[in-house]
């Protein structure tokens, strides 16, 4: 994108400068300030968490009167406390990802390549609606629907596959298991992975697809040959972004799992499940004393670092597709769309017309001069040039 305002020196050496108006200056200052404030906010988040967390991290846990009792009692130091929590967070998210990601990618494929074109827009909207449901509602839903729903499955798994450590142990009778929590988490990350993957699949060059079909490939072979290679890095990024969401999800886990702070791979037990960082904070924060709160903030700081790392990794993987060092490679891979489902939703709403007409009608889109779809394409391509 070229900057519209910057005067391009053209032809004669005499530079024509626009008259600087006060309103321009102020507006430039305001918008630059806002952009800078983003950096300040993110730095502030890290800084204040560190300031609050340090006293608890460096404290002498066994001899500290504050940390000896309550939720933090019985741990030699901060790392012994946070270790099982990190394990629990990763474990729950991993289960959620194993359940959710294949389904999400399947849905994305269904909407982008299988559903009738007329319906695709509406179906995509329905899945995006999942993202609009507040997490607390999913939590409550998990308590009264998912917990009992999974009980027979848990029994079955324990009876026949109990020799696998995952399904071992005493089966929960209430269903407050990490499996139930992870299922709810999987539902929550579905819309994120789906909306991003869908956008990426839709970016597949029409010519690649038609070439594959012309060579006699079935639809699935076409998808394997043309769609997946083009969108691979994007789908991996989408999955990582879903993982990032699952790591930080609080309420579903806090409401559903009956936890313990220990490292355990058991999925269908009660009171022997690993706790997650976020849920542990939510459960203990109201009853914690000052130093215990600081310990909890310390665990939150680690959660922040982990999810930041996952998100950055997702961006870097997608970015490599975008930057690609050589220009040729760039055109070969899909661009990551705005990550948030609500952003995708907003763009969808405004471009509803374009989406319904689909990519088939190139000629028509070209006929309408400066139609949004064209500009959009140009901008996205130009962005990383």
């Amino acid at each position: 994108m070229s900057t519209p305002g910057s005067p391009q020196p053209s032809g004669p050496a005499k530079k024509v400068r626009a008259k600087a108006r006060p309103a321009d200056r102020i507006f430039l200052g305001l918008s630059t300030g806002s952009a800078a404030s983003i950096m300040v906010i993110l730095a502030g988040v890290a800084l204040f968490l560190i300031i609050q967390a340090v006293p608890a991290i460096v404290a002498d846990w066994p001899n500290n009167s504050d940390l000896k009792s309550g939720p933090t009692g019985g741990y030699p130091n901060f790392w012994a406390y946070v270790g099982p929590l990190i394990w629990g967070t990763l474990f729950a998210s991993a289960i959620a990802l194993v359940i959710g990601a294949p389904v999400a990618i399947g849905i994305a494929l269904f909407i982008s390549h299988y559903a009738p074109r007329r319906l695709a827009g509406i179906l995509g909207y329905l899945v995006d609606l999942l993202a609009a449901v507040p997490s607390i509602v999913f939590g409550l839903w998990g308590i009264i629907v998912i917990r009992p729903f999974l009980l027979p499955l848990s029994d079955w798994l324990n009876t026949y596959l109990g020799w696998i450590p995952l399904f071992g142990g005493q089966v929960s009778t209430t269903g407050s298991t990490i499996l139930a929590g992870a299922v709810v988490l999987a539902v929550m990350i579905l819309p994120i992975i789906t909306s991003i993957s869908r956008e990426i699949f839709l970016q597949t060059p029409r010519l690649h697809e038609e070439a594959a079909l012309a060579l006699g490939a079935t639809k699935w072979e076409m998808i394997k040959l043309a769609v997946f290679p083009y969108g691979r890095s994007g789908v991996i990024s989408a999955t990582l972004l879903g993982l990032g969401r699952a790591l930080g999800e609080t309420m579903a886990i806090a409401l559903i799992i009956s936890p313990a702070i220990l490292v355990s791979v058991r999925m269908i037990t009660e009171g022997e499940n690993s706790q997650t960082i976020a849920a542990n904070i939510a459960l203990n924060f109201p009853i914690a004393t000052t130093l215990q709160r600081e310990a909890l903030i310390g665990t939150g700081l680690l959660l922040f670092v982990i999810s930041l790392a996952v998100n950055m990794l997702a961006r870097v993987i997608a970015g490599r597709a975008g930057k690609g060092s050589q220009k040729k490679k760039k055109a070969m891979l899909a661009q990551l769309p705005p990550s948030d489902p609500s952003t995708v939703l907003a763009v969808d709403d405004v471009l509803a017309k374009k989406r319904n007409e689909g990519t088939v009608e190139h000629a028509e889109a070209a006929a309408v001069d400066g139609s949004p779809s064209e500009i959009d394409e140009e901008e996205r391509k130009g962005k990383d040039a």
Binding site: P4, A36, V45, L49, A104, P134, I136, P286, L303
Partner: protein, 367 residues
């Protein structure tokens, strides 16, 4: 002269249509679907019927039958194709199940609680002077007010910062500009901040400024802003980039200043998209529980002052109703469902407004 190429042998017996031979009939998938639904219904009728089991078993039978049929009549490649098509469709239906189930559950459990009193009263213990009994009065008024105030302040903070940042990124910054690249990257990263971390940040900030017990509605608003700003920036950025460059260039060609071009040309063109994006961003954060719970804590008292003391909100009410119920556990749970349903209503209304704005105020001309 005509060199006739006569077929060496005439086909004998039934003439097969070479175009459709080796293919299943066109509607075969529907036949198989009906068959598998019926078959699994019969099987389950013998074992004890339930809807979920019926659908799952039908899906399994359908995929197996179609795969076997297709590989027998057609070939393995087509069989794979058909099975994958079936799997992908099943995946989609699987995603609709939680959506439908969640909405039904919330409505079924919440609708009984919601009435005029629930919306307009605050939770309190009422002493009846006639019967000398203390009854708990359930009400969500304090939570509704709290939600609106906290989300409102968060919107007031986030929308200007978000829109201005988007303007900076689209209108002012060049691609090579380190600041624009950093901000774009940070905004992307910020969308991934766990919501509870935002709550801890606000709590830490206000603990350092105000001192311990720094729970307040404003603190929760700050937490929500951290979550909302990146969403607003991303939406607005996308919308501003959709504005055709021709419009800006036409404006500059007439000697209009940059400020006027942005406010009079670019923003009005993109306003529908920006409003839609902002609405959806509000809908996103209005349901956040964890950050509000950290920063504003919870209370049953009515508190409309965002700068002093804990404040109740709908999502936190739904959470505490289940996790920290009062003496009457059933009533607490019921009010939790009531709060959840009200919250879903709010989110649906915001989404509808966003859709309507996008439809009605979309820029005309580009068809």
């Amino acid at each position: 002269m005509s060199a006739t190429i006569s077929p060496s042998r005439q086909p004998t017996g039934r003439i097969t249509n070479s175009l459709t031979s080796g293919q299943l009939p066109r509607l075969i998938e529907w036949y198989v679907l009906a068959g598998s639904l019926a078959l699994s219904a019969i099987i389950l009728a013998l074992m004890g019927f339930n809807i979920a089991g019926w659908l799952v078993l039908s899906a399994v039978i359908y995929l197996l039958a179609l795969g076997i049929l297709s590989s027998a009549v057609e070939n393995r490649r087509k069989a794979t194709d058909r099975v994958i098509r079936g799997l992908v469709t099943v995946a989609f239906l699987l995603a609709l199940a939680p959506l439908v189930s969640t909405l039904i559950t919330v409505f079924a459990n919440g609708i009984g609680v919601i009435n005029w009193d629930f919306i307009t009263q605050t939770s309190a213990s009422v002493f009846n002077t006639d019967t000398l009994e203390v009854t708990t009065q359930v009400g969500a008024w304090q939570a509704i007010v709290g939600t609106l105030i906290i989300t409102g302040i968060a919107a007031l903070i986030s929308i200007p910062i978000g829109i201005l940042t988007a303007i900076y990124l689209v209108e002012y910054a060049t691609k090579q500009n380190w600041m624009a690249r950093t901000v774009t990257f940070l905004v992307d990263v910020m969308t991934g901040i766990p919501s509870i971390v935002a709550g801890l940040f606000a709590f830490s900030l206000f603990t350092l400024i105000v001192g311990p017990k720094a729970f307040s509605g404003f603190s929760a608003s700050v937490a929500l802003s951290v979550l909302m700003i990146p969403i607003v920036v991303r939406s607005c950025e996308e919308m501003l980039r959709l504005v055709p460059m021709d419009l800006r260039e036409a404006s500059y060609a007439l000697g209009v200043s940059k400020f006027s071009t942005i406010t009079k040309i670019v923003l009005p063109t993109a306003i529908a998209g920006i409003v839609t994006g902002v609405m959806l961003a509000i809908a996103r954060v209005i349901g956040e529980t964890a950050p509000i719970f950290m920063a504003a804590s919870f209370t049953d008292n009515f508190n409309a002052n965002p700068f002093d003391g804990p404040m109740q909100t709908l999502p936190v009410m739904a959470y505490t109703g289940y996790k920290f119920p009062g003496q009457d556990i059933a009533a607490s749970n019921a009010s939790a469902w009531g709060a959840a349903l009200l919250l879903v209503f709010l989110v649906i209304i915001l989404n509808l407004i966003a859709r309507i704005v996008a439809k009605v105020f979309a820029p005309k001309g580009s068809r």
